[in-house]
Amino acid sequence: MSSLKTPPERPKRNVIPGFGLSMGVTLTMLSLIVLIPLASVPLVLRDYSLSEFWRVVTDKQTIATYKVSFSCAAAAAVINVFFGVLLAWVITRYKFPGRRILDGLIELPFALPTAVAGVALTTLYSDKGWIGYLFSKVGVKISYTPIGIKIAMIFIGIPFVVRSIQPVLEKLDPQYEEAAATLGASRARTFMSVVIPEILPAALTGFALAFSRAIGEYGSVVFIAGNIPYKTQITPLIIMNKLEQFNYPAAASIALVMIVFSFLVLFGINILQSKISEISRGS
């Protein structure tokens, strides 16, 4: 994913053995496990006319799933950037009891199986759950609504943002902030003009990773979403529904849209990131 270009290299004879073997194994396994399977998605659609493909991917119900997935993932990623910066800041800058546990817990969404997270969040935020009960008292339903989808997406995305920002904050010398403060800058101004520009590329990377994970996420979202067409049906779920109806070309068509979209997101973020690092280096 790095946008850094390697400098032109002088060809040099390498004395280390094993290039042929290791490259052969790498390419064979990559092709068998990833590339050939992925190529089967467009392959299945070879007998499918363009108008049929278009009808399936722009079907009203399918479009509704794009909207739900996209809007929930974007909202969750924005919230994650806010709390990600907060958590990374608190973990790197403050000393307090329980800091190490907090740091270790951040990784929980990576370690906990998504289905377990899904059933736990659904129960916790349902009308009978500990938190859902409190909200139902004031008339807010969380499980089986778009709010629930966002909660699951926040859960799954938070470590991406924290772990992107944390190393940058660790390297950022507090001296700069102190210098800005001694020069009379207010605390808010110091944060805005010294810290934010430094962590912006990392925050953006975290945003993109959390966003693209949330778009594709299934296990933690499926239970809490409730799969109500036009309301809480996410795109991975409609693919699953098409599969259950044995409508393979339709499933493959929507999958193709998702694959293209996730490649575009990664590509766009790569460009954005290299732009930002150019700007910060140039100034």
Partner: protein
């Protein structure tokens, strides 16, 4: 507002977030699983179908780990120790499974081995079942966790350069000797780190496995799928009891991960 007040507010806000999003879900699993007493919990956990699901999950994780570790080592060796065109493209291709929905990871194997798949006639002739059977579960899990080990090893081996390996090669060491005596001691913690992350995801994979499994209880049900089946049957206590096995595994993995990360940082200086 003094800096002390800000500090306390920020820490409390972080604690609130972590409690609502991470600690309470964990607590929910444990409390619900024990809600009908210890006896019920034990009978749910030692239930025949649960044990079968656990065995399948462990088998799948073991095969996945072997395949992905081999791939990780070979790919890192070729990418970090040699110069060639298209290196950047190759690393990007390896990362593809991370950017793809697990549902699509399962779907691709249905499209190959399922009834409309181009390999289906051959499999039919050989009388081999891939999808809606164990091989499909293993394949889908391998796909989803494919980049984990190589992604840890490649940057680590690149940062260490090739000087020591070149010296060993010039002194006549074989490839295997160079790897096991020169390279391996430097990368063992990084390798273990990748293996731990890969294990966590392989044990818990749900979406991809759910597509290819067919949910045959006692045959193609992994632990996460078993949690889903019980939950959808409104057997909450049983579902959470099975989930608690996975929670315990997740906590062990988190602790191991932190230990290994600590060693890794110390090694890097």
């Amino acid at each position: 507002m003094g800096s002390k007040t800000i500090k306390i507010v920020l820490i409390l806000l972080s604690a609130l977030f972590v409690t609502l999003m991470l600690i309470l879900p964990l607590a929910t699993v444990l409390v619900y699983s024990l809600r009908q007493g210890w006896r019920t919990f034990v009978s749910c956990v030692t239930d025949d179908y649960t044990v079968k699901a656990l065995n399948l999950t462990l088998l799948t994780a073991a095969i996945t780990l072997a395949v992905n570790t081999a791939f990780g080592i070979f790919s890192a060796w070729s990418i970090a120790k040699f110069r060639f065109r298209g290196k950047q493209a190759l690393t990007t291709l390896i990362d593809i499974p991370f950017s793809i929905s697990p549902i699509i990871a399962g779907l691709v194997f249905i499209l190959i081995f399922g009834r409309i798949g181009w390999v289906y006639p051959l499999m039919e002739a050989l009388d081999v079942k891939i999808v809606f059977a164990v091989p499909g579960i293993v394949l889908a899990t391998i796909f989803v966790t494919f980049p984990f080990v190589s992604r840890e090893l490649i940057p680590l081996m690149q940062s260490q350069g090739c000087d020591e390996e070149e010296a060993a090669a010039l002194m006549g060491a074989s490839g295997l000797q160079i790897f096991s005596r020169v390279t391996f001691p430097h990368i063992k913690w990084g390798l273990l780190y990748g293996v731990i992350l890969c294990t966590a995801r392989a044990l818990g994979e749900f979406g991809a496995v759910s597509v290819v499994s067919g949910h045959l209880r006692g045959k193609t049900n992994t632990l996460p799928l078993h949690v889903e089946v019980l939950f959808n049957e409104f057997k909450l206590t049983a579902s959470f009891a099975v989930a608690s096995i996975l929670v315990v595994i997740a906590i062990i993995i988190l602790i191991l991960r932190n230990i290994v990360e600590f060693r890794l940082k110390r090694e890097e200086g």
